[in-house]
Amino acid sequence: MIRAARYSAALLSACLAGGCAGDDTSYYNRALEKNGEVVSQNRESGAESTPFPYDLADLSPAHRPDPKSDEAGIWYHMEKVERRIKTAGERYRNREVNAYLASVACRVTGSYCKDVRIYVIRAAGMNASMAPNGMMSIRTGLLLRARNEAQLAAVIGHEAGHYLRQHSLQRLRDVIDKTNSLVFFNFILAAAGIPVAGDLAVLAALGDIQAYGRNHEREADGYGLLLMSRAGYDPEEAWKIWDLTLREMKATKDYEDRSQFLASHPEPEERMAVLRKLAKSVKTDKTTDIGRERLREIVAPIRAELIRDELNARRFDAFEVLLDQLIADGDNLAELYYFKGEMRRLRAKDDDLEKALAFYAKAAQAPGTPPPGLKRSAGLVQYKLGRIDAAKESFAAYLKDNPQAPDAGIVRHLLKRPAK
């Protein structure tokens, strides 16, 4: 109550005067400062980082919450969520992928290895998330986007940072205090007959809650850098993961309209620039591991299905950016040109269908193994374009190579249809 009242007064004076606590880039430094690894000239901002309100000590390994605490409440809830995720249909059950990610996570989290449990979720897009009880989920889309194991380690380290710093608990306390004070603040205003200011205060508090979260992201980025380099990975890879993601984001049409005021994360440009600068503080002759080949070996056999997931998300422009990056990497080009064609077959705008056929032809000639559906896709496009004979030829070739395909029946049916 007293804290809430004091906070109301602070909101009144600070926020209406034009600024809440807000974004603070010094949080990037915290992980490194605490661990004595920051070199002053590489600091993101001159001053020592400001401690968070509700600051908490790092968790110790094998941590369990006090059963009577608010922390126990969020653990209880997340344990229920974790039980659901264990049996969720979206869970990606490929043994090699799960074992591989668990081993990278163990290497990054060190003595916290047993506290962090990895769940691989089959979904497009680059994302991972961390629950306060140690449940980390990683989307398969990350496997396509990380250029190497060191980049994966940076993401896992970032998520582990949320866990170690108990960000969920800090945030819960922050939200409760801010919404509490808002209520009393509004009473004061209502009693004084100033209704509009109340709405402004709601907005200010909301912005402030989000800024608090963004500062957590900054702190977690610092942890990512620290943990990955302690595990021997090259910290220069941490900022590089943003390069591709930023290009993908810029290819989507709502990129220009995004609002930073309510954003959950800091701008990628900022994260990239700071991580790049801080990497120099932690880089030594022992932090050289990049692990490009290890990740490639894991991804190669499942890459086609992961690309298909991205395509099904139908963010065509961003998809093209991702594909072009994979083509620049140069693995199994036949597969990638096939998907260039698939994207155009599904988008089917302007001369997309003609272009799709051109890419299918290119895929058939390119190095690597084209996916088994190549001829079927070509046939479908030819059918749409009214080139029935060519389509029948493609379908027949598909059936010849894949007589046992699950869709063989429907393709045979298409073969029987007379030309229009």
Partner: protein, 240 residues
């Protein structure tokens, strides 16, 4: 990459509708397809599936903070009370050994729990909330989990499964102060609420044979007496 969990599944929708039910001071209306269980004791075996319970503190600004200790007490009180109550009506509560590992690994059981969550939420929303009634369910009560529910029959050797969902919140002292301030200004803001629903499923056929919900601004699951009172209300129309 965020560090926050979300409420999964239909829980969010349940809470939203339940809030409407409380505001509308809706009377509880039970639904059932059978008013009585078979008289033979060997056909009156009920397994209580893990109750989905969360007790929380409602803060002044509306923030909800789950309290693990209260939740543990509530689960304990609910289970103890149900066992005693079924003993009285000559129905036997089949003991379910609830180890965390067993719960996590028995995917089929978890899927049935998730299915019931969705079906139960649908009944709550579409059979009770005036604006959400479904034309296809008018004058009917024919919800089912399908024949796969038989899996629970094989696993527990029971005839029925009882599902319980409970959310119970208690106003913090700050919330109470806010309510007083608001009342002084002529505005009403709500305090803690108790809402829940329960269904009894025939695990031979999957049919939901009885369903009831409660949504009110009273009740306390933290004490054995309070839990007994809540279950009295929730199970008032339970098949005899």
């Amino acid at each position: 990459m965020d560090g926050r969990g979300r409420i999964p599944g239909p829980a969010g929708a349940i809470l939203a509708v339940a809030a409407l039910l409380v505001l509308g001071a809706c009377q509880t209306t039970a639904h059932h397809t059978r008013a009585k269980l078979p008289p033979e004791p060997e056909k009156r075996r009920i397994v209580l599936l893990p109750p989905d319970v969360e007790l929380s503190i409602l803060h002044a600004g509306g923030g909800n903070e789950i309290n693990a200790e209260w939740t543990r007490l509530a689960r304990q009180n609910l289970s103890a009370n149900l066992a005693e109550r079924f003993g009285r009506i000559n129905a036997r509560l089949v003991e379910r050994k609830a180890s965390a590992a067993d719960f996590g690994e028995d995917a089929k059981e978890v899927q049935l729990l998730k299915l019931h969550e969705a079906v139960g939420a649908s009944i709550l929303i579409h059979q009770n909330q005036g604006s959400m009634l479904l034309p296809t369910k008018e004058g009917k009560f024919d919800w089912s989990l399908g024949p796969e529910a038989r899996y629970l029959k094989r696993k527990y050797g029971a005839d029925y499964a009882l599902f319980v969902f409970m959310r119970d919140s208690y106003a913090s002292s700050g919330r109470v102060a806010a309510m007083i301030f608001a009342a002084a200004l002529g505005v009403g803001i709500r305090g803690g609420v108790q809402l829940g629903f329960s269904s009894l499923v025939d695990i031979e056929t999957g049919e939901v044979v009885w369903f009831n919900h409660l949504a009110r601004a009273s009740g306390d699951l933290r004490t054995p007496e309070g839990a007994a009172e809540t279950i009295d209300v929730l199970l008032a129309s339970f098949p005899k």
